[in-house]
């Protein structure tokens, strides 16, 4: 407190500010007048927080209007502390217990700072609530602070009191208005009721006036309806006795109206099996008004006079009349309807069974079946088809059959489908390759047809597909095996050849030895038989020459050594080898001509072996012409080069020619048309050409004679490593 008297000028300022604050506080009621209590408190708290430069201010009070608890906390913008309502309550509780007003203000530490807390009661005994202010200033609360707080508290008390009165006043006014409105509504309703009663009474009078006439008309009307109704109408009273039984009922059940009126319904048309149900249902309705049948359409059976039970549709209604309940039942014989329903059901079941059967056929077929639309998009596929291609049904439905067709088969498929859709053909068969989902190719034999549309289904394509991959593989395997077999056959024939050579040689050898032995004996005799010995020696020499001839002949034809390929010129090789035969050709009176291709590329081949082949072909040609006397004996050797980088050599004669049967047979070992040949020359020649990855064949000429040809690649596979033709042996020879 002593700190406040330091400077008179400041003191004046402080007092001036206090007065201005007081004026402000006194002016507050004008601001909050007519407001809610909570709003009043808020306005007050904001004013005090600002005037007293507080850290926080807190109010707790009972709302004078609705008695709810109000707690409002305002914290100054400049306050750095986090203050909660709970903190304040705790501070008050610890200090207020027992001590009373004496120890005010309470000093309390909030988050490391001492704050002076000062509670102010609202109302004389705090019955309206309490305001608690907190301020960090050491001199708080000073005189002016206390003054302002006290005034503010009073103002608040008065304000809250006024608010309470105001609220009370409002409540009473509202209550009054409500009661007036209520009473007014009651009067209006009573009035309306009265008007209705009057109107109703008028109506009743009216009805009564027309009642009898109406009733009569109604009776007639009703009788007409009853009599002409196609439905059976049976009415009963509350005891279950029949009171009406129309002609349709007579017709249907066979009872006469006059005989059944007054009889219990149970004795007339209720079948024995339903009697118990009828009795209990009827009794329950009479006892409780509870019905499970009234107003509903039911299906049950009814009993005819002849004991037949017929299916009926039944509707029971209560007759709207005073007194004990009575009922009418409308019954309709539904025997026919039942029959047609059963027939329909049976027909439907039939259709389902049929469909099931077809589906089963489709699903369980041993071959793949696929249905596609006209664009080839899959509509349905069976399991076999799906497995064959490795796709699921759903995946296939995203695809067309062209999507999974192997590139090589796409064009064919497209063409055939086009012809199918144009109506050029009804169906077609194709063996084609598909690509499985896993990328593997699969060979399929497809039978594709157009299925004509119906009124519900547009036309579509059906493919019956069989996986023939195994078969295809076997075919390929078979072809391979055949070629293997051919090789084996050739090797075997080489074995036979060896034996044949032995035989050929052993004959003259045998003669040589026998002759020599005889010669020896003749010379050793006494006297020596010189003439005989000379003869044996001559025979020995001749046999020796024969043996030598055989060996020479075989050696030229049969060479077992590996190929030794080199770069060579086929023209040159052919010219060289035929030059050796020139004298023989002249002797045989054969005219030799060359027709060599000038642009023949060099090739990689076994020169000696190719020359053996050429020589063999030339010898054969000469032999074929040996018997010809009526036309010139001509031999043409020709070379060509084709686009596929193959070179070809042909030997054409004017000999006795070749029958079509012989054209292939001549290449087999030991087949010969010559009297002095062994029939192995062409067989071996073919082996040599095949070793060069080429082929050797024969054709009949247009004119007389035949032509033998071989074609080999310039560089057979695996021969490419051969040294480049820098070799001086390869020369160009002009023909």
């Amino acid at each position: 407190m002593n700190t406040q008297v330091e400077d008179p000028a400041q003191e004046v300022k402080r007092l001036q500010r206090c007065i201005s604050d007081l004026v402000g506080l006194l002016a507050l009621p004008a601001v909050w007048s007519g407001n809610e209590p909570s709003r009043i408190v808020q306005i007050l708290l904001d004013a005090l927080l600002r005037m007293l430069n507080l850290d926080f201010i807190w109010a707790r009070l009972r709302d004078p209007v609705d008695a709810g608890l109000l707690e409002i906390l305002r914290v100054s913008d400049s306050c750095r502390l986090r203050i909660t309502t709970q903190d304040i309550s705790e501070a008050l509780n610890t200090r207020l217990v027992g001590d009373g007003q004496e120890s005010l203000p309470i000093r309390h530490r909030f988050g490391g700072e001492d704050i002076s807390i000062f509670p102010v009661l609202l109302g004389v005994h705090g019955e309206s609530g309490m305001i608690v202010v907190g301020c960090g200033r050491l001199d708080f609360p000073g005189q002016t602070d206390s003054l302002l707080l006290t005034v503010a508290a009073n103002q608040a008390s008065i304000g809250l009191q006024e608010a309470r009165l105001l609220a009370e006043q409002k409540r009473i006014t509202y209550e009054l208005d409500r009661r007036v409105a209520e009473r007014t509504a009651e009067l209006a309703a009573a009035n309306e009721e009265l008007r209705k009663e009057i109107a109703e009474r008028k109506l009743t009078e009216e009805r009564l006036r027309h009642g009898e006439q109406e009733l009569k008309r109604s009776e007639v009307h009703k009788a007409a309806i009853l009599d002409s109704s196609p439905d059976c109408v049976v009415a009963i009273d509350h005891e279950g006795r029949i009171t009406e039984f129309n002609p349709a009922a007579e017709q249907t059940f066979g009872h006469r109206r006059s005989e059944v009126l007054g009889k219990p319904l149970a004795d007339v048309i209720i079948p024995p099996s339903l009697l118990e149900k009828h009795r209990t249902g009827f009794a329950r309705y009479l006892a409780s008004g509870d019905s499970r049948v009234l107003g509903r359409r039911l299906e049950m059976t009814a009993l005819c006079i002849d004991g037949r039970e017929i299916p009926v549709e039944l509707t029971i209604t209560r007759i709207p009349q005073e007194g004990p309940p009575a009922f009418t039942g409308h019954l309709r014989d539904i025997t026919e309807r039942k029959k047609s329903e059963d027939a329909l059901r049976a027909a439907h079941a039939q259709v389902l069974r049929s469909e099931e059967r077809w589906r089963s056929v489709f699903e369980n077929s041993a071959v793949g079946v696929a249905l596609t639309d006209l664009d080839g998009r899959f509509i349905a596929t069976n399991l076999v088809y799906q497995r064959m291609l490795g796709y699921t049904e759903d995946e296939l439905q995203q695809l067309t059959f062209l999507d999974i067709t192997h590139e090589e088969s796409v064009e064919d498929s497209r063409t055939l489908i086009g012809e199918l859709l144009d109506g050029h053909r009804q169906q077609f068969q194709i063996e084609k390759q598909y690509r499985r989902k896993d990328g593997q190719p699969v060979w399929v034999r497809n039978n594709v047809s157009v299925v004509p549309g119906t009124e519900r289904v547009p036309r579509f394509l059906m493919a019956i597909s069989e996986d023939v991959t195994q078969g295809k593989l076997s075919e390929e395997a078979l072809a391979r095996a055949r070629s293997e077999l051919a090789k084996v056959a050739r090797i075997t024939s080489l074995g036979v050849l060896t034996a044949s050579i032995a035989h050929e040689i052993n004959q003259p050898l045998s003669g040589i030895i026998t002759n020599a032995s005889t010669c020896l004996r003749m010379l050793s005799a006494d006297p020596p038989n010189i003439d005989g010995a000379l003869e044996t020696v001559r025979r020995t020499i001749r046999d020796g020459n024969r043996a030598s001839d055989v060996i020479t002949r075989l050696r030229t034809l049969y060479s077992k050594k590996e190929l030794s390929p080199e770069w060579m010129d086929l023209n040159e090789a052919a010219r060289e080898v035929t030059a050796l035969s020139l004298s023989e050709l002249q002797r045989s009176n054969v005219l030799l001509r060359y027709q060599f291709a000038e642009d023949l590329p060099p090739l990689v081949a076994d020169r000696i072996q190719l020359q053996q082949v050429i020589l063999n072909l030339v010898r054969n040609a000469v032999d074929a012409m040996s018997a010809i006397g009526d036309r010139p004996r001509e031999l043409l050797i020709r070379t060509d080069c084709d686009a596929e980088n193959q070179v070809q050599l042909s030997v054409k004669d004017t000999g006795m020619g070749l029958s079509p049967q012989a054209a292939e047979k001549i290449f087999e070992a030991f087949y010969t048309t010559k009297t002095d040949g062994m029939g192995i020359g062409l067989s071996i020649s073919r082996s040599i050409i095949e070793a060069h990855q080429g082929r050797l064949w024969a054709i009949a000429n247009d004119g007389p004679g035949s032509t033998f040809l071989f074609a080999i690649p310039c560089v057979p596979e695996g021969f490419a490593d051969t040294e480049a033709p820098a070799n001086p042996t390869v020369r160009r020879i002009d023909s």
Partner: protein, 131 residues
């Protein structure tokens, strides 16, 4: 080499040779004469069968592989006709199974061409010994 004894008088035993190879037909008779036999040569089985030597022939030197009737077939035919002529087969083809089969069939000898004069004489002697 010892010449065989004459059977009776001046008559030498007759050996017949059947072979399609000319070298054999030319060379064997001289050698057989040196051995002391008379001989006749035939170029085929048929030629031999139609000759007048069937009864006289003491031993038949027979080639196996020939055009027309083969050597073994001729052998069977002779047996069928009741001619028990001892047969020495000669062949240029080495075939052991054939040798065994001919042995079972009753062949007296089997020589592979080319054969020595000693082997031939031994085979003829064995064949002509009374069994």
């Amino acid at each position: 080499m010892e010449s065989p004894k004459r059977r009776d008088g001046n008559e030498r035993p007759l050996l017949s040779v059947v072979d399609d190879d000319e070298s054999i037909r030319e060379s064997l008779p001289d050698l057989l004469r040196e051995f002391g036999f008379a001989s006749r040569v035939f170029s085929s089985a048929e030629e031999f069968l139609t000759s007048d030597c069937l009864v006289e022939t003491s031993c038949l030197i027979l080639d196996i592989a020939m055009p027309g009737m083969s050597g073994p077939e001729l052998h069977q035919e002779l047996k069928r006709r009741g001619h028990e002529i001892p047969v020495v087969f000669i062949t240029g083809q080495r075939d052991e199974s054939l040798r065994v089969r001919l042995g079972k069939q009753g062949a007296a000898g089997f020589l592979l061409k080319p054969f020595s004069d000693a082997a031939l004489l031994a085979a003829i002697k064995t064949a002509m010994e009374p069994s």
